[in-house]
C-alpha cells in the first residue's frame, strides 16, 4: 500500500479516537435534553467540577480551604493523605449525585413548565455558579489528573507500542495511536453499553424514557417526575465525570476545561439533540472530518483548519438538515 493511503488511514483512526472524546461530552447534553427539554449549558462546567473534585479528593485536599484559612487565619491545605483512584471516583460520583439533587431541588423545581429559553438561562447561571464553587472548593491552579488511564499501568506496556509494531509488520508502516485515546475509546464503549442496558432494561430507565416522552402520561402511571429528573441529572453528572477524567487526563484539570462544552455543540447539531446514537456518530464524524480535512485540504489553505471545521460542518447541517442525522423531524400539522 502506498504511504499516503496508510497515513490517511492513521489519520482516520486518530480522528475516530478524538471523536470519542467529543461524543463523551455530547452524551451528557443529550441525556438531559431528552428527559427534561433543558439545554444544559453547564454540562462542560459539570465535567470540570467533577474532574476537580476527583483530583481534590485523590490528593487529599481540604475543600474550601482558602475560605477556611482566610476566615480563621489557619494554613490548612491538605489532609495529608492520598486516596486511591477507585475510592476517589466513587466519592466523586456521590458528590455529583448530591449536585443533581441540589440542582433539581433549588433551581428546576421552581421552573417547572417554564419556557425553554428560561430553563436555558438558568443553566447559564448554574454554569457560572458551579465554576465559582469549583474555584472556591479546590483552588484555581492547574492540576494533573493521575488516574491510571493516562500512564501505562492500565494497558500493559503501552498498547501503542504494540499497535505500532504489529502494523509495522503488516504494512511496513507503524501506526501511532495515543494510549489515552485507546483508554477513552474502551471506556466510552463501556459507558454507552451501560447506558443502553440501563435505559432499555431497568424500571428506572423505562420511567426515564416515559418522562422524556410525555410528562402527564408519566405521572398517570405512577412516575415521580422529580425523582426521574434527579436521576437524569445524576446520570449526566456521571457522564460529565467520565468526560472530565478523559479531558482532564489529556490536557490537565484547568478552568478552560469547561469550554469543551463548545466542542459538543457541532456534534449535537450533526447528530440531533435527542439521539444518543446521534451524539456518538456525530462525535465520530466530527473527529474524523476534522483530522481528514486538515490532512487533505489543510496544506492548500495554510492549515489550522481544526479550529473551525466542526462549526462550519454544523452550519451546513443547520441549513440542509436542521434536525440533525438522528433527531426527530418536527412536522407541524396545520
Amino acid at each position: 500500500m502506498p504511504d499516503q493511503v496508510l497515513f490517511a488511514t492513521e489519520v482516520v483512526l486518530n480522528g475516530l479516537m478524538a471523536g470519542v472524546m467529543y461524543s463523551l461530552v455530547a452524551l451528557g447534553f443529550v441525556l438531559i435534553f431528552k428527559a427534561s427539554g433543558i439545554f444544559n449549558f453547564a454540562q462542560g462546567v459539570m465535567a470540570l467540577f467533577a474532574a476537580m473534585t476527583l483530583v481534590g479528593i485523590q490528593n487529599g485536599q481540604v475543600p474550601f480551604s482558602h475560605l477556611f484559612n482566610a476566615i480563621f487565619g489557619t494554613k490548612i491545605h491538605y489532609f495529608g493523605w492520598e486516596v486511591h483512584s477507585v475510592i476517589a471516583i466513587l466519592l466523586t460520583v456521590i458528590v455529583m449525585i448530591f449536585m443533581a439533587w441540589a440542582v433539581q431541588r433549588y433551581i428546576f423545581q421552581y421552573l417547572i413548565g417554564q419556557e425553554p429559553i428560561i430553563l436555558f438561562m438558568a443553566t447559564i447561571g448554574l454554569a457560572y455558579f458551579l465554576e465559582g464553587v469549583a474555584d472556591l472548593m479546590w483552588g484555581a491552579e492547574i492540576k494533573t489528573l493521575n488516574v491510571c488511564l493516562n500512564s501505562d499501568t492500565c494497558l500493559p506496556q503501552g498498547i501503542n507500542t504494540v499497535i505500532d509494531s504489529v502494523t509495522f509488520g503488516w504494512f511496513g508502516y507503524g501506526f501511532f495511536v495515543d494510549n489515552l485515546d485507546i483508554s477513552a475509546t474502551i471506556v466510552a464503549i463501556f459507558l454507552v453499553a451501560v447506558l443502553v442496558i440501563f435505559s432499555q432494561y431497568t424500571k428506572q430507565g423505562r420511567a426515564m424514557r416515559a418522562v422524556a416522552d410525555d410528562h402527564q402520561a408519566a405521572l398517570s402511571v405512577g412516575i415521580s417526575l422529580n425523582y426521574i429528573w434527579i436521576l437524569v441529572w445524576s446520570v449526566a453528572g456521571f457522564v460529565a465525570l467520565v468526560a472530565g477524567i478523559m479531558w482532564g487526563a489529556k490536557s490537565g484539570v484547568q478552568f478552560s476545561l469547561s469550554l469543551i462544552a463548545l466542542k459538543a455543540l457541532p456534534v449535537l447539531m450533526l447528530g440531533g439533540f435527542t439521539s444518543i446514537p446521534g451524539a456518538i456518530v456525530g462525535g465520530l464524524i466530527i473527529g474524523v472530518g476534522e483530522k481528514l480535512f486538515e490532512f487533505l485540504i489543510g496544506p492548500m489553505i495554510g492549515g489550522a483548519t481544526e479550529n473551525w471545521f466542526a462549526y462550519m460542518l454544523a452550519l451546513l447541517f443547520l441549513v440542509f438538515r436542521p434536525q440533525g442525522l438522528f433527531g426527530e423531524k418536527i412536522i407541524e400539522r396545520v
Partner: protein
C-alpha cells in the same frame, strides 16, 4: 343495551363496600369556584358516571380524584381511610389509574411498550437484577409481559402491538390508553371522556369495552361523559353537575326525570 351484573358482588347497592367517598369538596381557581361542596361515593364494582354540560366542573372533579388538583376544602376517603392530598404519581401508586380527555400516551413508544409502562408500579426487583435480567426481575418481567398481552388481547389491539403510537388513528389511541390504565390492575379506573371525538361505531366499540372490563375484571369505573345517551346505557349510577354544584345523583332513570337535570341540559335560565 342490557347490563347483567354477573361478576359483581351484589345488585343491592346498600350491601356493596365503598371504594371512594368525596366529602364536601370545594375547588377554587383564584376567584372562580370550579367545584362547590360536592359529595358522592363510588361503590365496589360499579360504573359511576359524572355528567354535566360544558364547564360544569366534571374534569376538575376527576383531576381532584387523581391528584392533579388539590381542593381547598373537603376530604377524600379511599378504602375506608382518609386520604391525605397526594401528588398524581402517588395516587397512581395507590391503584387509581386514569385516562385523559386529550390522550396522554408515549408517542415515541410502541403500543406494547406503552402498555408495559402501566406495569411500572408492579416492578419491585432491584436495579442490578433488572440490568442483568436474572432472578426476581426475570420472573417479574415474564409476569408483567403476560399481563400486558392479556389486556392487549382483551381490547383487541393485538394487530398493532408493535406499531408506534404516533401512527395510530384517534380511536385506537384511546383504546391503547385504556389498555395502559387497565394493565395496572387498578382498584379504581377513571375515564375522562372516553368517547369524546369518536364516530358512532367507535363509540359503540368503546362502550362495549367499558362494560366488558367491568364485567370481566370487576373493575370499579368512574367516567365523565357529556353524551347523555351513552352514559345512561352504560352506568349504574350517575352524578350530575352544573356550574360546579351537584344537581342530581342516582340511577340513570331517576336522574333522567330530575327537573333540575332537565333544566341544566335544556338551558333554563337561573333566576
Amino acid at each position: 343495551m342490557n347490563k347483567t351484573d354477573v361478576n359483581k358482588g351484589s345488585d343491592d347497592y346498600s350491601v356493596r363496600s365503598v371504594v371512594m367517598e368525596m366529602k364536601n369538596i370545594t375547588l377554587r381557581f383564584g376567584g372562580v369556584v370550579a367545584i362547590k361542596e360536592i359529595s358522592f361515593d363510588i361503590l365496589e364494582g360499579e360504573i359511576r358516571a359524572i355528567i354535566g354540560p360544558n364547564g360544569a366542573g366534571k374534569s376538575s372533579m376527576l383531576n381532584v380524584i387523581s391528584g392533579f388538583y388539590s381542593p381547598q376544602e373537603g376530604e377524600i376517603w379511599f378504602r375506608g381511610e382518609k386520604r391525605p392530598w397526594l401528588k398524581p404519581y402517588q395516587v397512581a401508586r395507590q391503584g387509581i389509574a386514569r385516562t385523559f380527555q386529550n390522550i396522554a400516551l408515549f408517542e415515541g413508544m410502541s403500543v406494547l411498550d406503552n402498555v408495559m409502562t402501566g406495569r411500572l408500579t408492579h416492578m419491585n426487583s432491584n436495579i442490578f437484577s433488572q440490568a442483568l435480567w436474572k432472578g426476581q426481575s426475570e420472573r417479574e418481567e415474564v409476569e408483567n409481559r403476560d399481563h400486558a398481552e392479556r389486556v392487549i388481547d382483551f381490547l383487541e389491539i393485538q394487530h398493532i402491538r408493535k406499531t408506534p403510537v404516533s401512527r395510530l388513528p384517534y380511536g385506537l389511541k384511546k383504546r391503547v390508553e385504556l389498555a395502559r390504565a387497565l394493565v395496572s390492575e387498578p382498584s379504581l379506573l377513571l375515564l375522562d371522556e372516553p368517547m369524546a371525538g369518536m364516530n358512532v361505531e367507535e363509540k359503540e366499540d368503546m362502550s362495549r369495552f367499558i362494560l366488558d372490563v367491568n364485567d370481566e375484571f370487576g373493575t370499579t369505573i368512574a367516567l365523565i361523559e357529556h353524551d347523555m345517551g351513552v352514559v345512561m346505557d352504560l352506568s349504574d349510577r350517575v352524578v350530575v353537575m352544573d356550574y360546579g354544584r351537584k344537581i342530581g345523583d342516582g340511577a340513570p332513570d331517576e336522574v333522567r326525570n330530575n327537573q333540575d337535570v332537565i333544566d341544566a341540559y335544556l338551558g333554563v335560565s337561573h333566576d
